[in-house]
Amino acid sequence: MTEAFSWVFDGLLVIALVIVAARVVFTPVLFKAIVMFIVFGLLMAIAWGRLDAPHVALAEAAIGAGITGALLLAAYSDLVSVRRRRPHLRPRVRVLRRHAFFAASAALAFAALALVLLQVPAPESGAGTLAVANLDATGVAEGVTAVLLDFRAYDTLLEMAVLLLAVYGARAVLVTDSEPRPDPWPTEGRHGSMVAALVGVLAPLIVVTAGYLLWVGAYGPGGAFQAGAVLAALGVLLRLTGRLEPAAASSWPQRLVLVAGLIVFSLVGLATLFAGGTFLDYPEAWAYPLVLLIEIALTVSIALPLILLFSGSPGLATPAPEDRR
């Protein structure tokens, strides 16, 4: 890409980002705001790509735009069904003046921050340079994966607990809000053969893509988080088309998948603790296989909570055979 072209491209990208962000804040229609938010996430992913941060770009596209967008749409459809039954509970989205106030304050705060940030000298050395220097000892060739699964593996492990707790938090709210409501997504029988054919084509492609992202994490942009988010997209698709139905309780295999990442990661850590005295200090020859094993477990344990959050149910079930056509 020539320099002039990249200036034009980046300039257009920045303008588009600002316009879309303004649309998210100022549109009076909630549905439009959600769609614009998803568009914003996709543009942001391109911006991260332009900033040479492909990991962040993948995460932004898969989680920021994809899964978050799906969650927002799920919440929207629920709001619509509440409004239909009880018209006085209109979601208030037409508070433009307050939005303008918040947008102006946020812009001011951002300007102040940027002013300070521009004057901060970068450190000559630090954890980043050390990570690059020690990459050979980790068994993986990709810096970000090494940080996530070796140098700062403890943080990654605990992030899995955060995901698990998000599911349990949603369940606690479900228990409190026990009002019965119709499932917002149509069941399988209401779709034509086009959808069935499309799901049949997409599902294996998604699985292969997730597997690729998982595998490639050892040498390039990818890894468990991106793979898990892509796998979750498959779950969302199956849930939307009635291949998966909400269940009032989670079966034990589902609970095992929820905690598989935590179990495998913790047991590897405890094994190294009892064998060598240091938590998650992989023996050099074992580093790569152990990291891969952990990443596989993490992928499924990242995907299932996201699907459950989208589904808004404690568990999932496949429809009974007599419902199928």
Binding site: F151, Y154, D155, A161, A172, W252, L270, L273, T278
Partner: protein, 492 residues
Amino acid sequence: MSVPGPSQWLVLIVFVPLLAAVAAVLWPGRGAGRWLTVLTGLLTGGGLLSLSARLLDAGEPVTHALGGWPTPLGIALYADGLSLAMLWLTWVVMSAASWHADAYNPAHGIDEALFRPLWLACWCALNAVFVSGDLFNVYVVLEISTLAAVPLVAIAGGRAALTAALRYLLFALLGALVYLLGVALVYGRHGRLDMHGLEITPEPAMLLAAGLVTAGLMAKAALVPMHVWLPPAHSRAPAPVSAILSALVVKAAVYLLLRLWTWTWPELINGAAWVLGGLGAVAMIHGSVLALLQVRLKRVVAYSTVAQLGYLLLVFPLASLLAWQGVVMHAVSHGLAKAGFFLAAGNIMHLLGHDRLQGMRGISGGPLALTMFALALSAVSLMGLPPSGGFLAKWLLLQAALEAGAWGWAALLLIAGLLAAAYLFRVLAILLARDTPDPLAAPGSDRHVPTAMAWSALTLALGSAVLAFAGEPLLRLFSIGSPDIMTGSTGP
């Protein structure tokens, strides 16, 4: 295979409750949950004994370089006297509150399959905060504590609890984002995140970073002016949850304020000491006055937490070893007394079905005798009357203020103590009133407080009283590794 030493226990006290939470996901029954909790208590208790022995023996902090990577590349776990004080407090309060929950939860229809994983994850997060030596790791473990605590509030059921829980969530998430922004600034400037290796000098960017981190933690700690979420959340939660929220969860964020301002960026403290101390003073007065005005028992106790957290910030303007010891003692004794008070309030609600003070005149006898004893003992410690840990803490703080010639702070301590006495005596006067017949003593009434609920409250209350006698040796342990700006030594 080797026997875990103190350094290994530092890891295990985080992973025992975490794996217990995982096991509780897989085996959601009540029996399994109870055994997992007992096992967690036994194992982490053993770990804390091992850590305490090493600390007293060596006189210096215990550390563990996770993954075998030294800082700043890896994450270090770190435990000194302050960590041990908070870890022991966590152990005692979580154990007693778990005992209380054994009887409280089935009686109040709390879903065991949801409660147990959240409860054990919260225990894990608290231990992880108190041994963390890394700014970003703190963000992660504070998120775990928030995401465990918020559903534990909602689990009480009903719209009011849900609203309180969601408001708590919004404040805590906003706090977390602001904290993260501050941490990003520190990393951008220094390229490292370890709390004990950073050398932060006063410059605009770092002052901004410290301000952001402090604001974020204040939202999580419910320090004035970010306290509005606390009274509804802590008063609507189930009793054992209220106890751990007020005694431990908010204190985890205050603990971090103490650690960061005294170890990580002590050179930035100059002007900030007065701002932080001033906010503490406002919290002490504002919280106490509002506690005096409440018409429901649990809200009195919740506003009391707002007030008592303010004391912890006085360490910054007073800045001496006495003040440091006073604040550590205050954190521990307030934790025990407040947890005991909340459990006792839960017992009263268990019998009455409400917590309006108006309907509580003269209920102190009969089935509530033990509970009333626990409540009164806790109140004594919260007011700072002898003999109690609360008295010892306030005495140390007052001494520190007088030695520094800081008459203003000394006067504040006395006024706040009087206000605490006022709002607590008001409650006690209502409960102990003799002018109306005890509504619970009516013939034919066979309502009683389960043994576990009465004795768990009493254990915590007795604990806060016993602190007065065990103060000397405990302070020796808790002062190990005190920060240089408190001990007055210039350091190497």
